[in-house]
Symmetry: C2
């Protein structure tokens, strides 16, 4: 459990490297499309400016591989990632969404609930806060937890991992949908009718979760809305920045996934339905 | 009926000038925010490049005033426009929407259904097609029709003006909503589910029209969809360009107006409701 590969040097991948590398016994390679130096800023100070990325893919094998590319980019990387695995390699997906682990045939694959908050600003990563990956409470993950406990990365092995993952999915459902489609930042929740609309959308998500066998706390909608209320008014979401920058969004892994489940369980989720369609339309032939 | 003022030198105002000026007996002033030369291109040829705009407002009086500014800009201009009217001045609103004539106290005010298709491209207007204003069939408008019949502008006095205006409103409702919220051009209707969504949205609009006492043809939705199918795939709408350029849209005069009527008549129009909200959210604090 010594050789670690981080695939993707965006905000999450870069910060993950920074956190892990404080355990100097680890050998960590960061892979990107091109060779470049990772630069991370935290509270106005440069905290990382020496690590150079390697060009993906690699012929070397790793004990642990963290996949930090956008959900939309995963399918094209699968074969190359497979070549970087030995029989006991652990793959940790650090992406939005919930459904992607099905794409990976390697047996020891886990989808982390990622609480690492940062943003790309040109070639520089701005690190805001948080350092946690929540993973299922499985004995196979214990060695990984032990060695990361000697770094700044906080891995939590949580028996309620699936529920936590769904809560993150719903957090993304609400704020990503609304900010991307209004092309406005978190301040848009100050509009009372938009606030109510977001609650209704979350309500549809909770209904889907329940039919999918995920038992969420009764006050989950209020909890999520209070998470939003702590956001800075000028804060965008990943999907907001995608739309602002004319890039493909991860809607298929968030709204699209939920919408498919809604169809499967024959549920009435009109808001989710139109929101998914508008996001689908956004990237048609783009 | 000799002195004409065109307020607003965007696509419609500029093209309207071009059409009207072929009757050389008319004295036409075009007003804009600044003095500049109107340039119009038609099928790759410059057809207008000498008329210079005057700076709005004016202390002179006009027999006919065409208001060609965006619907959102109207309220700020009302006092100045009033000063440009004598008792018999005819005011022709050449804007999207339907409700703005209520803002103008001057008695002889008419809202034209505008069929003039063009687009601003920097300082240049690209004139695509059409040269028609549909107005109510009122005797007071006969002199205007007579003198414009000697120009390239085609004024139609139509007893079904109100119905035509509603059809234009519904045409705008469908394609403007979908293109603005997907940030995609008319090609987005190639996505079957988006096509169906647009039909459903128009269905809500037709229900509102019916409760408002507007009797539309039974096949109106199919007719409007066939209008859309004639659009070039790369064609945007005014609201699409507003969103692309980060500008305020006219949603209050299209979706917002219809949504208010829906509330007034206590109708169930869920698509219109969320679309109006998202467009409202778009320009919150922007």
């Amino acid at each position: 459990m010594k050789r670690h590969a981080i695939i993707g040097a965006g905000a999450v991948g870069s910060i993950l490297y920074h956190l892990l590398s404080s355990n100097q016994e680890l050998e960590i390679d960061v892979f990107a499309k091109e060779e470049r130096t990772i630069t991370i800023e935290y509270k106005g100070q440069l905290i990382e400016q020496s690590k150079v990325t390697k060009v993906f893919p690699s012929t070397e094998k790793y004990d642990c591989i963290y996949i930090c590319v956008k959900a939309t980019a995963l399918s094209n990387l699968l074969l190359s990632i497979k070549c970087m695995c030995h029989a006991d390699t652990i793959i940790i997906l650090c992406q939005n969404g919930i459904s992607q682990s099905e794409l990976i045939q390697h047996p020891h694959t886990y989808h982390a609930v990622v609480y690492i908050s940062g943003q790309m600003n040109g070639d520089r990563v701005i690190y805001f806060q948080d350092n946690t990956l929540i993973l299922p409470d499985e004995s196979r993950l214990q060695p990984l937890k032990l060695i990361t406990d000697q770094s700044q990365l906080n891995i939590v092995l949580d028996p309620n991992h699936a529920k936590k993952q769904w809560i993150k999915l719903l957090v993304n459902l609400g704020i990503n949908s609304i900010t991307a489609l209004t092309k406005n930042t978190a301040q848009v929740l100050e509009v009372q009718e938009i606030y109510t609309l977001t609650e209704q959308l979350l309500g549809e998500g909770v209904t889907i979760a329940s039919h999918h066998g995920i038992d969420l706390p009764e006050d989950i909608i209020a909890s999520i809305m209070s998470i939003y209320s702590a956001y800075d008014a000028s804060m965008g979401t990943s999907m907001y920045y995608d739309v602002i920058n004319g890039q493909t969004t991860e809607y298929e892994y968030i709204q699209g996934y939920l919408n498919e489940l809604s169809t499967k369980y024959q549920l009435h989720t009109p808001l989710l339905n139109i929101i998914t369609l508008l996001l689908k339309g956004y990237q048609y032939k783009k």
